[in-house]
Symmetry: C2
Subunit: 394 residues, 2 copies
């Protein structure tokens, strides 16, 4: 769990999300060896930064293969044969930097008072952000959709004026305050002066059909990952997850939750108890918080893969598929109307829209006054009940 103290937090986070992406994509490809591999797609951002999207999608049948499928006696069988475990999935990382406009700085100060803000001067500040974001939509209606995202954010001081005007050596003040905790690289003149830093992330499950043992396994795995770093974390972040992934106009949650957190830094956190006691123990230093985030990230595959393996070949029919697509419609509603990350991305000039909207399912469905899900005794109604009244699973 020890982090590499010779590297800055930026470098450590970058290393970690690169290896986590590879681990997750490899595991998903192993699960379905006959499916086409994920498409690896590297990109660079004109304003600074780069990323790698790993996306799974099955190309729709060409006209030729449609012709073949007209051999009617075997159509259903062929359909089965070519069915992949996943329908659409993306495991993306991005490592970007740029300049925050004064309006963004003003907003961020609400949670990060260490960012200086002078209302008299419209100052812009450099930022660095690195994260992994994934969404997996399996094909089988009994197999749940899952989402996870872990990210690190830094706001740094504006670079000193060009040396030919005001030559000045880096001072102690300009030392990266995050990496200082790791042992420091005070000799590196190029190290930026970090004014504020924080981690955010989470993971949540969106089933179309409720299997209580799946919900318990998913939540239980995340709870164990959290508890090792402080018992206050899971209850606080589970509640936050239920609040965040709520669709007000439907009066229901997007899914059955998991964990969600943001703005986690060395300062006291409004969602975590501040009095020092055993039950309020929490990670505080950069290395402690990064260790907690790695625990959560490492818990992704153990929390989800067993569910996928258990459900990917479950019996299905048109009714179940129809319900799954209706639920995917709700997923689209949440992501386009409420998700902060998506909205922020769509409003950002030069953002990579294809990566942002990768989270949308391949197909979604909307019915006016649908007759499915209304009967509380039906399998579909049982899910709705839990979406309207989030439950404690562990």
């Amino acid at each position: 769990m020890a982090s590499d103290s010779t590297k800055s937090m930026r470098e450590q986070v970058t290393d970690y999300i690169l290896s986590l992406q590879d681990e997750i994509v490899t595991a998903l490809e192993k699960l379905d060896p006959s499916a086409p591999p994920f498409k690896r797609d590297s990109w660079t951002r004109a304003q600074g930064g780069q990323g790698q999207s790993c996306v799974f999608a099955v190309p729709p049948p060409s006209s030729q293969s449609t012709q073949k499928a007209h051999d009617q006696d075997h159509e259903k069988e062929q359909e089965k044969e070519k069915e992949t475990v996943l329908e659409k999935a993306g495991v993306n990382i991005s490592i970007v930097h740029g300049t925050l406009p004064p309006s963004a700085i003003k907003q961020m100060r609400a949670d990060h008072e260490s960012i200086p803000y002078d209302p008299e001067r419209d100052t812009s500040l450099p930022f660095f952000a690195a994260g992994i974001s994934l969404v997996i939509h399996p094909r089988n209606p009994s197999a749940p959709t899952v989402h996870a995202n872990y990210r690190y954010f830094e706001v740094t001081a504006a670079p000193p004026p060009p040396p030919e005007v005001h030559p000045q050596p880096p001072t102690d003040d300009q030392t990266n305050s995050a990496s200082a905790e790791e042992g420091g690289d005070k000799d590196k003149a190029a190290e930026p002066n970090v004014l504020a830093w924080w981690f955010g992330g989470g993971s949540d499950l969106t089933p179309s059909y409720l299997f209580e043992e799946d919900a318990k396994h998913f939540h239980g795995t995340l709870k164990s990952a959290c508890d090792a770093h402080g018992e206050a974390l899971f209850p606080a972040f589970k509640k936050w997850c239920d609040e965040y992934f709520f669709i007000p106009h439907r009066g229901e949650s997007r899914g059955i939750g998991g964990i969600f957190f943001d703005d986690l830094t060395a300062e006291p956190h409004k969602r975590l108890p501040s009095s020092p006691s055993l039950s309020s123990k929490r990670p505080e230093s950069p290395s402690e918080i990064f260790a907690f985030v790695r625990s959560c990230g490492d818990a992704f595959l153990p929390s989800y893969l067993p569910l996928l393996q258990r459900r990917m070949s479950a019996p299905s029919d048109e009714h179940k598929r129809r319900w799954q697509l209706l639920r995917r419609g709700r997923y689209v509603e949440f992501n386009l109307v409420y998700d902060r990350g998506t909205k922020f991305g769509l409003m950002t000039p030069g953002a990579r829209i294809e990566s942002i909207l990768m989270s949308l399912p391949e197909t979604a469905r909307w019915e006016y006054m649908s007759d499915i899900g209304g009967d509380a005794e039906s399998e579909e109604g049982r899910l709705i009940e839990v979406l309207k009244n989030p439950r404690s699973w562990v």
Copy 2:
């Protein structure tokens, strides 16, 4: 074209949208006699008002009919037989009233200075709104989706205090200023005192495949409907439509436009020329503006039905269907992320979500970095070109 001067504008608009709804639904049902009829669904709003949704949807095949379809030799034929012209459609009217909170009043004052606003006192005001809203998604990928909406809005003075406290007869000031133009009902003590009123609306076409003659017919019919009421209307409202139905994150329009207008009242309008000349003639009185709106509403069927008839049986294949569903994904993106009416509806407590989201297609599709539409020489690329560079069609 003369309006019934013995009725208030509220009543006239209500009568009109009721008859227009009936006319449009009847015409669509006639076009496809073997399809199930539209589902008429009346509702009342707890906070005041009522409406009628007329919705077309084909119930998904039950398990039984699925069984039958397994008679493989005839499957394709049966598929053809049961295919309806429309895939999903809604023609809805609503006539509602209630109370505008101070925040809404403050916003509306930007375009309607006649609404009094006292920053010292948080005053709420009564409103009345009546409108027709329709979206038609045909099944055939060559047949375009269409949207239209016409509405009337009134803000009235707060009712006088209960008579037992301050008995006072209605004064001239409390006469409905909109209906006063019609000849007035000054004797009706119950007539509300209209502080501000306006009309809004428009109609726009969203094809998946571009047929220039369809675009010309649609725009030409709307232009004729507008031109009879002032030559400045169509150019101004065509431009407004292109601006409104734009999807910034895609850099393209939702469709190929039509007309869009709002806040049309007796006052000068920021989108219309104010100097009096032949080319700047515009409807000004309530009856003139209502006549213009009726012209547009009456033009709906002539603008669209011929296109639907022409394209509803066009040859189709899986490629065309896939492209149609991708375009429907864009339709969902616009409606959920940008459409003011949808956003306002989703945020309104007690709003009828099923009617608001009736505009969404039955099915939509998202592909990461889709390979369709990128080739400018392809049929799909030709549409994209027009969506990125709106054209003048008449």
